[in-house]
Symmetry: D2
Subunit: 124 residues, 4 copies
């Protein structure tokens, strides 16, 4: 288990569960607390790009800090899926299917909004 | 590819990439934009638990909306890993190892802070 | 200018503008950057309550850190209002009026959702 | 009470308190819930600028939606200050003084990081 090509989502969820269980942290892992924690880590990821231009942000994104913060977001996402016994693959594929309906490729090619309505935010 | 047991992280990243490429959305997928999007979806996940007690939040967590929002967070995380060509498994396992050092199981069993310092937030 | 009773919103906006102008920070203060910064500071405020029970959170809320983080959120909100030349008082009062329509007192007394629909989140 | 020039922060806090009290919403207004709500509204504000270039974001910022979302963030900030009986003016001025020490004007003019260390994020 070392790269994305040979690691199942289930194996990654297991690694996260093992870490938490060794510390008996399940009692803290309520949905409300985990959703807060995902949002906190997402903000820390975003902080790496605060005030930067798009070009500067691309440079910053190559740093180790960004990989660590993205990992933190993912660790809490997997922890939540463990707490809820929710299949991540099923949830992601189901959402992609919903998005297929909401964002037909022909209509949204190169754009994240429908041409006819320039207001509002139709993005994924 | 239907459940976490038979799906590699790489396959999931591929599904997300295929969706984006069919719409030619890569130009939007800068690190700064994606970090913002992860944070936006994390807040939408959190919104499902807004004002709820812990007990009410557990009930709400079983709804389809929570699975969809968690999927949205994950889709953007995987999109960011694709944009950066970053191995998710490697990043998560490396961060768990860092956390092993920061939160020794013997010291943090059943607690998310060191006993000696009850102030501050030492949580993961 | 020392307390909320004798300080106008305009005076507070002025204090924030003076600080930024002394550092020639206006070029950084685009709406996109400031919205990101508000979200980052909001997450840092939230971090003070991460993993805490409601009772523990009330205790933590009395600490100086919470006042500092709330101030950070407000400083960026006022900075955004300065960047947009937007009257804060007008915006807040207008939104309260919208909320009066959306959440009639008779219907929402002691509840943040309409009685008839227990799903969804109708909160302010 | 109509503009920032004639409205004290205390008057604005009072308007927010009156709205909440008419609905008996104080029981919901715990620090943990309010911090979550500030973060949720901050994300909704940010959503107005999702995927936009800096130029597009300036245009979007002139819309009514941005003023409404900024008002929502502020309403919850004022609600938290009411819940904690915290003087907003005092907190903001104290934080600006802290920032004066951390970001000396001479050193940070036109930059949000110290010249000597181009890594890390020293921004306000």
């Amino acid at each position: 288990m070392t790269t994305d090509y040979e690691t199942t989502v289930g194996m990654l969820r297991e690694a996260v569960a093992t870490f938490a269980d060794a510390r008996e942290w399940r009692p803290f892992h309520s949905p409300k607390n985990l959703a807060m924690s995902i949002a906190i880590e997402a903000a820390e990821l975003m902080e790496h790009f605060q005030w930067l231009t798009e070009d500067q942000a691309w440079v910053a994104a190559g740093g180790a800090g960004v990989a660590e913060e993205l990992a933190d977001v993912l660790i809490y996402c997997l922890t939540l899926s463990n707490a809820l016994d929710l299949d991540v693959t099923g949830a992601v594929l189901a959402k992609l299917q919903v998005n297929e309906g909401n964002y037909p490729a022909a209509e949204f090619r190169g754009r994240f909004r429908r041409p006819e309505r320039e207001k509002g935010n139709d993005a994924l």
